[in-house]
Amino acid sequence: MKSFEYARPTTEAEAVAFLGAEGIQTAILAGGTDLTSLLRAELLTPARVVDLKQIPSLRTITPLDDGIQIGALCTLDELAQSPQLGHYRSLFDVIDGIRAIQVQGCGTLGGDLCHLPNCWYFRKGYGILGMEQGVSLPESGDNRYHAILGNSGPAKFVNASRFAPALIAWGAKVRIIGLGAASGAGLSNGPAVVDAEWVPLEYFYSTPQTDRQGHTILRPGQMISHVWLPESPLMSSATYEVLQMEGLDWPLAAAGVCLQLEGGLVRDARIVMGHVAPVPWLIDDAARVLIGQPLNEETAATAAAFAVAQSTPLSMNAYKVQIACTAVKRALLKAAGQLT
């Protein structure tokens, strides 16, 4: 690990100032469950690490008229213990699936949403695209855990966020603060003190085309401060992750879904797959085939088949297509209370 300067702001404004200082490469310390590994491997070599844990506004969970606002620094344990989040079952499914109490105790919602890829070529120092002398290592090497969708460009990794599929299915937005964010997007409980804007989470992720691009739209000096979830009392939700191991492990594929059932028929559905593409994979087609249908084994299977129909597996990961398909089917059945 290289030496770095350590900053511990106590307000969002201070955080933004520390992050936005010109000419200084910064890294954000939230829960630290992954940052410490990245620093030790020298995959990140920031001149300054900005620790966000002492900023009270980032740790609040606030019910609003139109939904709920969650501070990005809330730990998974804090989310799990929050009575206000009781309706958002799919989030609890994610927390249960993380299993390691250390990560549940330290890991944060914002940290998860910004989690860098677990692609082993990236983690071995070949950059976010895993390139060696212009050759894509994931494409020509061992890609058993890589993308089966959205992989036609140079990015073959899968988005690592555990919460993103569930949150996107809910229609969540994230509040981005820092340099260059549009001004005025204040929090409900206070005036805007920093540049801030709310962005639908589904537009937060991006697929890098070069090694210098990131996997989100965050620019240097920016961070997520809060997540907003809509009030949707008629929706039920679930996340289904396919995990090889019972301990700490990354899903082979996952699905987050939200369903609105009326008179036994699907009135609205949102399905998002995780760990199948460089970004969380929202599948409108699959959701559409459910509208007006009853939700059962058969319709769930049809929607799931739709969800993976456009898959373009790499040399070693065709098996993930079936796993992703199963994740979608089971998430739908689970949201409908039918998973036995």
Partner: protein, 722 residues
């Protein structure tokens, strides 16, 4: 009349031996007071770090250490290779730096200028054809990567296969895995004039001084090795390694103590692995399911040396009269192998007994019945037969077994059961002991042995206390140093016999001397005396306390030395048999395999400590579940690198992955009377085959290569449906 005979008391008459005794050092370990090599931090200790090769195969083109030497806090910089040297695997140590703080050492490594000329590599261990075709040079000369390890022929295999009622042909494989000792390899070295003191994480306290003496040019007599506690070895910690010697050199040039422990990825890359083995197998039986022929060709790699499991390991345990075996080693640019718990056996067991299970399915036989019918082809049918009955009862095999893929499953989750058998030697190694009885009745045992974590210290105390009839608190066990009497390395399940034999004999001899003194003092027949509950008895009559008896030796301790035991003495023996059964639940839509239950029935002669023995077997089952379901060294063909050399991607089971473990010992009088036999290796041999067989039973197809990951399970199911 008490017979004075070297040996153990009849079954059931010991008070401590055979009991469930917790580790004597459990508390210091659990509370963090136990000092492992990794904890050694004597005043002034410098921290050393290694720069290792990122290339699998390369030539060192340039080394410039000048900048590194000037880095703040750096005290010494040592090149472990020179320009022109050839690197033959990733992780090869290049530079070692000692500095005031670990981060200064890292700063120093960053300032080192090293350049490599990369060379073509080969790391695809399963691919025999690829290895034959690969164009690789070594030291500038073309290198043939494959070499035959021989052919072994008995009987007429071709004829037997042709005339067989059932013939099965299959491909099976077990990739390389690493040891994953929780404490990595490493040492702490300090010089005092010409004397070198080393804290070394080692399975070989008595045997490592010379390995320092030769490269360092010092007298072996001046090298003191210490290892009080260690965080696992599993066969990978017998030798002093290049990085350990580098640590001692850094200590010498700086005049300061130096500690150098490998980091996790380097540990996995270079500090040992279990060789891979893949096999094409043809196996045949008659109409009644009696094995008649075995033919196999197995191959694999153990790193640059180019070998795999020994030719004679195939077929494992079951030896039909007609068999032809061939083996080919592949030299690869992978880290070199080291003994891994029961070397060669787990791979051979998995390759053999999965093929036999497939043949049983072909013959329409219950797997258990098939193995039972062929027990006469094994080394220990009289042990396996009763063990299989016990295991079947504990597993409820009769209810749970079903023809392949025809179990009554719920939805996508299918259940199945499997069985496998194993054997191991486990005879005693050569160890010496010094035993002192002090006039106050306390007893000291000194041995240059080590406790790998399995409870050696506890067992020595137990055997000693048992023999003198005193509580274990009256015994001080001093081990973990080469300053004590020479003892064998702890590997191959040799330690428990190796230490308990000499300790028992020497303790008995010391006791008899004291009983003779007591006999003279109290005017009774020495041959009528025995020690129990801290007292000396003649039949029902209390003669004196143990303390009073010990006081008779005079002011000086009574000191006896004892040498290694032989099997004839009856204290120890070798060759055990064990059987295991697995029950699994397989989700055929995701390919995820869960262990429901494992049953292990194990023979080990006389059990010294039932609690520690159970821990050993449970540990073996867990390591077995790991390599059966998730654990695998993944070499990247493109870069030649060990791509999952970290705890994140190298998947090890956690508590939730283990299922229910049932451990049962097979210890009838006949086996008890054989004396003590080692248990470290046996329980880790069968899980691969048993679990793979259970999965085949559950889903109806064989997943041919371990570990049984979702990918392999789904690929196998897909292949079967094609």
């Amino acid at each position: 009349m008490v017979e004075r005979k070297i040996g153990w008391a009849p079954q059931g008459s010991h008070t401590l031996v055979g009991g469930e005794i917790p580790r004597v050092d459990g508390q210091v370990k659990a509370s963090g007071q136990a000092k492992y090599t990794h904890d050694m931090n004597s005043p002034g200790t410098l921290f050393a770090k290694l720069l290792t090769s990122p290339h699998a195969h390369a030539k060192v083109a340039l080394i410039n250490l000048e900048k590194a030497k000037g880095v703040k806090g750096v005290k010494a910089v040592l090149a472990l290779v020179k320009v022109g040297d050839e690197i033959r695997y990733e992780g090869w140590p290049i530079i070692a730096i000692a500095a005031e703080r670990p981060e200064y050492a890292e700063d120093g490594l960053r300032a080192v200028e090293v350049k490599f000329d990369p060379l073509p590599h080969y790391v695809d261990e399963a691919n025999l054809k690829g290895a034959e075709a690969a164009e690789i040079t070594d030291a500038g000369e073309p290198l043939k990567l494959t070499r035959t390890l021989g052919i072994d022929k008995t009987g007429d295999t071709d004829e037997a296969i042709q005339s067989a009622a059932h013939v099965h042909r299959g491909f099976y494989g077990v990739p390389s895995i690493t040891h994953m000792c929780l404490e990595p390899h490493g040492s702490h070295a300090a010089w005092k004039d010409e004397d070198l003191q080393v804290a070394l994480s080692t399975q070989n306290v008595s045997g490592t001084a010379t390995q320092y003496a030769l490269p360092l040019g010092v007298d072996a007599a001046r090298v003191a090795i210490r290892c009080d506690f260690m965080g696992g070895g599993f066969g990978s910690k017998f030798a002093v390694d290049a990085w350990d010697v580098a640590c001692a050199r850094l200590a010498k040039v700086t005049g300061r103590p130096v500690r150098l422990m490998l980091n996790r990825s380097t540990e996995m890359q270079i500090a040992g692995n279990r060789p891979s083995a893949f096999a094409e197998v043809t196996v045949a039986c008659d109409a009644e399911g009696h094995l008649t022929a075995w033919e196999s060709h197995h191959w694999g790699t153990n790193g640059p040396q180019g070998s795999t499991i020994a030719l004679g390991m195939a077929p494992y345990l079951f030896k039909p009269s007609n068999r032809t075996c061939r083996a080919t080693g592949i030299a690869t640019h992978c880290g070199p192998e080291r003994d891994w718990r029961a070397p060669h056996h787990p791979q051979a067991c998995a390759l053999t007994q999965t093929a036999l299970d497939d043949l049983a399915a072909k013959a329409g036989l219950d797997s258990l019945e098939f193995f039972r019918r062929n027990l006469d082809l094994t080394n220990l049918p009289h042990i396996y037969r009763p063990e299989l009955e016990i295991a079947a009862r504990l597993m409820d095999w009769e209810t749970k077994w079903h023809p392949r893929g025809q179990g009554a499953g719920r939805g996508a989750v299918k259940r199945g059961v499997g069985v496998a058998l194993h054997t191991w030697g486990g005879g005693p190694h050569q160890s010496n002991v010094t035993l002192k009885v002090h006039p106050d009745g306390t007893i000291e045992v000194l041995m240059g042995t080590q406790d790998n974590g399995t409870g050696t210290r506890t067992c020595i105390a137990q055997v000693t206390a048992e023999t003198f009839g005193v509580p274990m608190t009256a015994v001080k066990v001093s081990i973990g140093s080469n300053q004590y009497p020479q003892a064998g390395p702890s590997g191959g399940s040799t330690t428990i016999g190796g230490v308990s034999g000499p300790v028992r004999r020497t303790a008995q001899q010391a006791l008899w001397k004291i009983l003779d003194l007591a006999a003279a003092k109290y005017g009774v027949d020495g041959n009528s005396l025995f020690a129990r509950d801290g007292r000396i008895w003649s039949g029902e009559t209390l003669i004196c306390t143990w303390k009073q008896a010990a006081g008779l030796i005079g002011p000086m301790p009574l000191e006896l030395r004892g040498g290694p035991v032989t099997e004839e003495e009856g204290l120890t023996s070798q060759q055990v048999g064990g059987v295991q059964m697995a029950e699994v639940a397989v989700d055929i839509d995701t390919g995820v395999v869960r262990i429901v239950k494992m049953v292990a029935v194990q023979d080990m002669g006389l059990i010294v400590n039932r609690l520690l023995a159970r821990s050993q077997v449970s540990g073996g089952l867990i390591m077995g579940i790991a390599y059966a379901l998730s654990e695998e060294r993944i070499m990247d063909n493109k870069t030649g690198r060990f791509i999952n050399a970290n705890f994140n991607d190298y998947k090890l089971p956690r508590m939730g992955d283990i299922g229910e473990l049932v451990v049962e010992f097979y210890e009838p009088e006949s086996e008890y009377n054989r004396g003590v036999i080692g248990l470290g290796e046996p329980p880790v041999i069968s899980p691969g085959a048993a679990i793979s067989n259970a999965v085949a039973n559950a889903i109806g197809v064989r997943v041919p290569v371990l570990p049984l990951t979702p990918k392999r399970v789904l690929d196998a199911l897909k292949g079967a449906n094609r």
